[in-house]
Symmetry: C2
Subunit: 146 residues, 2 copies
């Protein structure tokens, strides 16, 4: 759809970084200063809901979402993983996969809740560094799946 | 775990209503005055993350989540479905499946964002009624899956 930001298959450097692109899906590392490591798994075609996909497509997408979760836990050791498909603003299937830490800006709220605290700057910098490792680790995991 | 609210496998009438219980999961209709039809699919055992489950267990759980989504769309005709597994407060796998409407209290934010508006009372009452239908329709769908 011409007015859908996720149908435009480009990503500005200030928004994030493409980790992997397949025929059906792509995975990006979101440039989120408060939540380093935040990833998004996006269905390439404009489809609003998971139940608009076939069972096989759904399974393929969820396999990628949980592959990202697995690698994220391994690389970043978060206190919790958050996984969500919302799309109220952009009704084009995209899964948020977010490493959450007890000292992150929104904990224990959601990534869309009000800020509760400031994460110490050196901690954020360390997580930022880890999120760069995440990119290569996700690529390797997806190559292993394929 | 003794201090986990989701390990206590009971539900107070003011919190919601059990729709279905299986060996591994249960489905409840959440009593949410702002978001009638809000359902939760809960893994019965205390497991924090999706990637702590086996592939088969994960598939079983997601089949139920998407069965709830399918029935919710059919019965309630929402503008969008929101699906999320967060667990920052209660790290015991539970999926929120939420019918969202352009006039609901939080739209276009998440169900955990600040309120943006008041839904007209008769509209809420009508959705409340629909959510009662949802209970039977989900039971029928799960019976069909089994």
């Amino acid at each position: 759809m011409t007015n859908c930001t996720l149908c435009k298959d480009d990503i500005k450097p200030e928004e994030g970084q493409l980790i992997w692109r397949g025929d059906d899906c792509r995975i990006i590392l979101v440039n989120d200063l408060d939540l380093p490591g935040f990833c998004r798994v996006i269905w390439n075609r404009h489809v609003p809901e998971m139940t608009d996909l076939t069972g096989g497509e759904r399974e393929h997408l969820m396999t990628l979402v949980f592959a990202v979760e697995k690698v994220m836990r391994h690389v970043m050791h978060p206190d919790k993983i958050n996984v969500a498909s919302l799309g109220n603003m952009v009704p084009h299937i995209h899964w948020h996969v977010i490493p959450r830490f007890k000292d992150d800006a929104f904990f224990p709220g959601t990534a869309w809740s009000n800020k509760t605290q400031e994460t110490p700057v050196p901690v954020l910098a360390m997580r930022q560094q880890k999120s760069a490792e995440l990119v290569d680790a996700i690529k390797a995991e997806i190559a292993f799946l394929a």
